[in-house]
Symmetry: C2
Subunit: 336 residues, 2 copies
């Protein structure tokens, strides 16, 4: 019997892996933060959902981009999952005293980000270049890219009408019952500069534990990205643990659309793209069926409560991917 | 000899006087605050310079309107003379960390004002209505009006070119040498709703100790206002004390335009409109010449360092005006 280290697919050390991560908000940001601790900065590119972006008080707000960047910069608010640490709220308090709308909570430091981004966008600069410069200023060395520099707007179809995402998510607190989604502008959008290049060079793509419907699907809706994933080893981490989401409405959305929320439901969501799947140990009994369907699974502790959790999960995810790539190189995967 | 109280022009009690004040920034705001302590709110209207207004970081900033309103609301920063008390600076700090422009100092609470004003202006609302609502929210009961709801922009002609006012005033710290001013848009501007009505009803107009060139002249440049003043008793308070200004570049401007900065220079600036003039006691030796030129003067302590100073000066100004009106009613003044 061949010893493991003489496999025909010699495993790269993790630090040589070129990885692209697709991410939405909190869960995505945390796994990306873990990946950033394991991989050299030049080997990690994050493509972030911008379908949630919107204009509020004249400011261009990019909630997922900011959550990812703030998290990587170590300036994210660890309690709320959005916004910044050591934040003050004087601008919004002053504005609401005057009768202005305060339903979307913007802290003072956060407003500084939005003011500067809005100022530069009005000068005609690209969101991807602005994000790159912001990352440099924040000491974030890896590449964080918006999925597109073009406007893509996520609409949520509900029993109370079609709502812009933030209206549904923040203002209405996800209360309306969901029946579907659309990503306006996606079919005309181009991947941001650097997105296709990073995907072309990647050894693997990690779909982070973000909302499949409204964080990952908008990214996949940008022409070119999904087909680029078809040529790559793709691993997804379930955002659903024990039928529930750590944060956000993914489980509620599955249920309202008639699908029992579960890790396997997430795997099926992506199954045309998937080479490997990671789910929580509490869902271990559900893993066998996925294995039987040809989706290799890793069950582990996926809840990232500490910085160590992020690093450990990232390392396990990458090691598992390398192991599967050795056993079943991507060219043998069913094509989409 | 007739006793004073049987004058043919029976003096109204101060509280019955209907007063319009013309004001720019700090000095104007302080005297207005004094007038507000002496007069019932319904008898005092302030018309404020908006020639300094500008757009910065996409926000509509109205420095003089805000200084007046913040002062009346008791939320002005007493040290800087602009901005708010108990202010924080996190937005601007966050923005400048990202390389954004921080030359115009905006505090967090102040930014809340600008965000809400900008939001409402974009909806097509008038600055005068927004200001009225802001005053209500801040508990300011008297009427504060921008001189116009139309855009008027003060340009400063200098040896370094023609500069927008804030560029000259804040960014360049008044260093370029001044040769003149223009108020772009003034000839097409309409007085804001309420301005002509207040002037029509006024018993007197107080020109506050603000910069004659760039705080008061822009107001007088709005068609209709100067001629309305021609029909009224007009009193001005000198912003120049002992040849210097308490704050701001008025004295420097006079000198650069070849006029010795002095209280009489201010009186001459307005002399076509003036029925009475108030100057500081340190300038008492200069008062005689003005009296000889037919401009009745009051010399008193005009530096407003305490809240009591504001109230006392306002009371003295009004009492002096009533006295002069008794002696020399406005219809006997030289017409302009």
């Amino acid at each position: 019997m061949r010893p493991k280290n003489s496999s025909p697919f010699s495993p790269s050390p993790l630090s040589a892996l070129k990885v692209v991560a697709l991410a939405g908000g909190v869960g995505g940001a945390r796994l990306v933060d873990g990946l950033a601790q394991v991989l050299p900065a030049q080997n990690l590119t994050v493509i972030v959902n911008t379908g949630d972006d919107f204009e509020y008080l004249g400011l261009k707000i990019c909630p997922d981009l900011d959550t990812v960047c703030y998290t990587l910069a170590g300036i994210a608010n660890p309690v709320t999952g959005w916004g910044r640490i050591n934040e003050t709220w004087n601008s919004l308090e002053s504005l609401t005293t005057l009768g202005g709308p305060g339903w979307f909570r913007l802290g003072d430091r956060d407003i500084g980000t939005h003011l500067e981004r809005t100022r530069r966008l009005k000068l005609g600069e690209r969101l991807s270049q602005i994000t790159r410069d912001f990352c440099n200023a924040w000491g974030v060395n890896l590449t964080v890219l918006p999925m597109s520099d073009d406007l893509v707007q996520t609409w949520v179809y509900t029993d109370e009408g079609v709502l812009p995402f933030q209206e549904y998510f923040v203002h209405r607190r996800c209360q309306p019952r969901v029946s579907g989604f659309s990503f306006e502008g996606a079919d005309q959008a181009q991947p941001a500069l650097g997105v296709m290049e990073a995907l072309g060079l990647a050894d693997m793509v990690v779909i982070c534990p973000s909302n499949p419907w409204v964080s990952i699907d908008p990214i996949l809706a940008v022409p070119g990205i999904k087909s680029a994933l078809g040529a790559k080893f793709v691993l997804a981490v379930s955002p659903i643990i024990g039928g529930q989401t750590v944060k956000g409405p993914a489980a509620k959305m599955y249920a309202e659309m008639g699908i029992e929320p579960s890790a396997p439901a997430v795997a099926h969501h992506y199954h045309m793209l998937l080479n490997a799947f990671v789910l929580d140990q509490v869902d271990a009994p559900l893993a066998t069926a996925l294995d039987d369907q040809g989706i290799p699974t890793l069950t582990t502790h996926t809840l990232m409560t500490s910085a160590d959790d992020r690093r450990r999960l990232a390392k396990e995810v990458l090691e598992f991917a390398v192991k599967i790539m050795e056993e079943k190189p991507p060219e043998r995967r069913n094509s989409i």
